[in-house]
Every structure is written in C-alpha cells, then in structure tokens.
Amino acid sequence: MTDPAGPDHARERHGQSRLKWTNLFYGFTLAAISAVLAFTYFQPITVLPRIHLAPGFSLTNQSGEKRTSEDYRGTVTVYTFSFSRCGESGVEAMTRMQKLRQRLRETDKGKMKFALVTLTVDPAHDTEAVLREFADRFGVGTEGEGDVRWDFLRGDPARTKYIIGGGFGVYFTHEAETDSAEEDLKITLEQRFVVVDGWGIIRAVYRGDTFEVDRVMRDLRWLMSETKNSKGVASLAYEAAHLFRCYP
C-alpha cells in the first residue's frame, strides 16, 4: 500500500523520524556529560576521602580499662597525640579538643556515636594516675563520660611506636629525660589530629594549625550526612562523589 501523499512525503517522514532519534541520542549524551560535570563542579554531595586503615591497638585508658580499636567500631573517633608534660602548644591542642567535644555534645548527632582519644607518646611517664590528672585538666572524668567519651590511652613504648608512628604516621621522638626539672623535655612531636570513621578508616588528617573546631565540625557533618543517607539508591550518589572527587 503506497503512501497516499506520495513517495516524497514518505521519505520526508522517514527523515524526520531519523532526525528525532539522532536528536534524542545527542541530547542523551549531552545530558550524561553535563550531569557528570555538574556533579563534580557543584558538589551537591561532599564526602571525606577514605584515606587509609587506622591502626589496630590494645591499650588502657586513664581509668585502667582496656580499650582496643574494636571498641571504637561504629563510632566516629577523633584522635590526637600528646603527653602530660607537653608545653604551651600541646595544651593549646588539647584545649581545641575540649572545645570540639563541647560542640559535639551540643550537636544533634542522630544515632551516630562520637568519641575522642588522646594517645600519649610518653607512656613511661604517663601512668594511669598521671593520665587521670591530665584528663582532669580538660574536664574529663569529673562529670562522667557524657555522650562524647574522651579516653586517654597508654601502652608499652614499642606498641606506642607502631601505633602512633607506623599506624597513624605521626612523627615523634623521645630521648631520655634529664635529671634537671628545669630542662626542656626532649620529646619532639608533630601535632596531628585524625578522624577515623566507624569502619576503622582514616577520613581526615589535620595538622596542628589546620585543626579549627568550625572546620572539623563541618567535616564531621559531612561524615554524619554520608553515614545517615548513604543507603539504597542514594549510596550510589555517595560512591559517585568518592569516585569523581576522591581518587588520587
């Protein structure tokens, strides 16, 4: 049966149909490319990269209780490294941790759990009693754990070196202390703060001068958002954010 309008009309309709499919194909490709670029540029979802596995450990806290890395599974933990005889910069770092703890307590955390951990780089001197006193200076221990626990952990020197130096990649050296109390302690420590997620993966590392409470809270909120929303189909969007923004 021939087209009543004639062969020219049939050819024209065929051409229009092909043009429609071509338009659809180019539109589809353009939309896909635009979506990827828009996702990368506008960053509707921001994630913290999954940097490295946090080290495993078994240590004791200021109350003499054993704490292992497994105890912090399911909890977002902020680690710092210090010692009771630290100077001004050490106290400043601990004060910032104290402020962070306060901010976390005031924040609606949903079902997420948070903890702070300070690992001593001077375990020979920082016994449990010394750590208790050290922790007390920053408001830990007197009012109970509250909902943001802060543990001060110690272990034997060899383990400490593996955990802090090897595992967290934090440089510190410890020379034998002198007899004179006036002499400066020969402990060199690079100031670092590390965020570890509930899976035991390091998600953020801050140097001493970049650890600002507001900035850390912003990053922790991203982590909270990812943990809360990254389920089902939405998890694909978060993995896409990791894929497009985090790969080295």
């Binding site: 229009q16 338009n23 659809l24 539109g27 589809f28 939309a31 896909a32 979506a35 990269p49 999954r50 940097i51 490295h52 596995l53 946090a54 080290p55 495993g56 450990f57 078994s58 292992t68 890395s69 497994e70 060899a158 383990r159 593996y162 955990i163 090897g166 595992g167 899976w199 035991g200 993966i201 694909l236 993995e239 896409a240 990791h242 894929l243 985090c246 790969y247 080295p248």
Partner: protein, 225 residues
C-alpha cells in the same frame, strides 16, 4: 506549479500539515525522556552489568594515595615471601591463626569458594594469611592447616614484633585470651579481609561474614578496573 496550484497549497488545512513545535516545547518533551532513559540505563548497569558499575559493591573502598605497607616474612613453603612479590596481581590479606575455632575457618572457606567462582581469573588472585599466633603456628603447622582449605593459600608467620608492626599498620587488633578450652589460649583478632590491588594499594576491606559470591564479584571488578 501554476499560481492556482500554489494558492491551493497555501490553503491546505492545518490538520494535514505536520505540526510545528517551538524549540522550548521540544526541550520540554525531550528532557524527561532523556532523564528517564539515563535513569534506566543506570539502573540496568548497576544491577546487571558488573563491568559498568561505579565500583565494588560489598567491600569498603579505600582511596589511599600510598601503596600498602610492604612486608617480607617466612612462608609455609619454606622461603620468605614479600607482599611486593605479587605486584601485578591481586592479594587478599587475612590475619588469623590455626587454632581459631570458627571465624578463620569460615572466612577461609568463603575465600576458597570465591576463588572457585572466579574460575580462570583466580590465577591472578593470591590469598595470604599472616598468623597472629607465631608461638603455635610454625610454617609446618600453617602448611597442613591451609592445605585443608585451598592449596593456593599462602601462610606467613613472623616474629611477634614483626607481626605486631604489620598487623597494626593494617588496622588489625589481636590479643591473647586465656581459656579453659582444650584448644588452650585463644586469640581475639580483627577478622577483616583486605584486598590489595595490582599496584599494591589497599583497595577494599571486607568485613567478617562477606559471602563468597560477594567477594568474587568485587574481586572481578578490581581485576578489570
């Protein structure tokens, strides 16, 4: 065409002439179609096309810029083996011990099944177990133990200090627990499996309980990406 004929054409009813659409209207019709098509392709790729996925589905993806810590330890084969010996292939790294009553046998059995599911592709996958109980796990004990699961498995055992250093770096906690059982003391240990890719980067972490099929699917993804 005569003037009469051209005049006739211009008076053809609109219903016969093809409808013309403005560009805005065309976009309004095209856009939802494109979005639906995109979503459909995405859904199909995610569920049926492992080669088109964003990434592994079951393990936690790591994005470390640095290679995983290298180590060299005595193996159950009688010679020392280093992690870097497997550059260019995949390594599944596990920390366990031979007297482990349940967790280690379960995990190793799943890895064995996963390698079987991979078929020929398993030639590029190596399963290494580092013992967290060097006191009891000699190379000979490891050889016999691992032989029950898969002759391809490699057992490594080092000094207590070296084991501690390596395990700590891989996020593994382990600790001796005294027990009254006939097995003697037990070792509490983190039971995750770490996948190290061809370039030596720790790429995936699988929690205890990951099924063989899930392991195989993610390993296959890493083999091809």
């Amino acid at each position: 065409m005569t003037n009469t004929e051209s005049l006739s054409a211009s008076k053809t009813p609109a219903a016969v002439l093809p409808m013309s659409r403005s560009p805005a209207k065309r976009l309004l019709i095209l856009l939802p179609v494109v979005v639906i098509l995109l979503g459909g392709v995405f859904w199909i790729a995610y569920h049926f096309g492992s080669g088109m996925r964003f990434g592994p589905k079951y393990g936690m993806v790591l994005q470390s810029p640095e290679p995983a810590m290298d180590f060299r330890l005595p193996s159950h084969l009688g010679q020392e083996i280093a992690l870097s010996d497997f550059r260019g292939e995949i390594v599944l790294l596990y920390f366990g011990y031979t007297v482990c009553p349940d967790v280690c046998p379960t995990t190793l059995a799943e890895v064995h099944k996963a390698l079987d599911l991979l078929g020929k592709e398993a030639d590029e996958v190596n399963c290494i177990m580092i013992s967290v109980d060097p006191e009891r796990d000699t190379p000979e004990v490891l050889a016999e133990y691992l032989g029950h699961f898969d002759s391809r498995f490699i057992g490594l055992v080092g000094s207590p200090e070296k084991t501690l250093e390596i395990a700590t770096n891989y996020g593994i906690h382990y600790e001796r627990q005294e027990s009254d059982s006939a097995l003697g003391y037990l070792m509490d240990h983190t039971a995750t499996l770490t996948l190290i890719d061809r370039e030596g980067h720790a790429r995936l972490v699988f929690p205890y309980g990951t099924k063989a099929e899930e392991l195989a699917e993610d390993i296959r993804y890493v083999l091809h990406h």
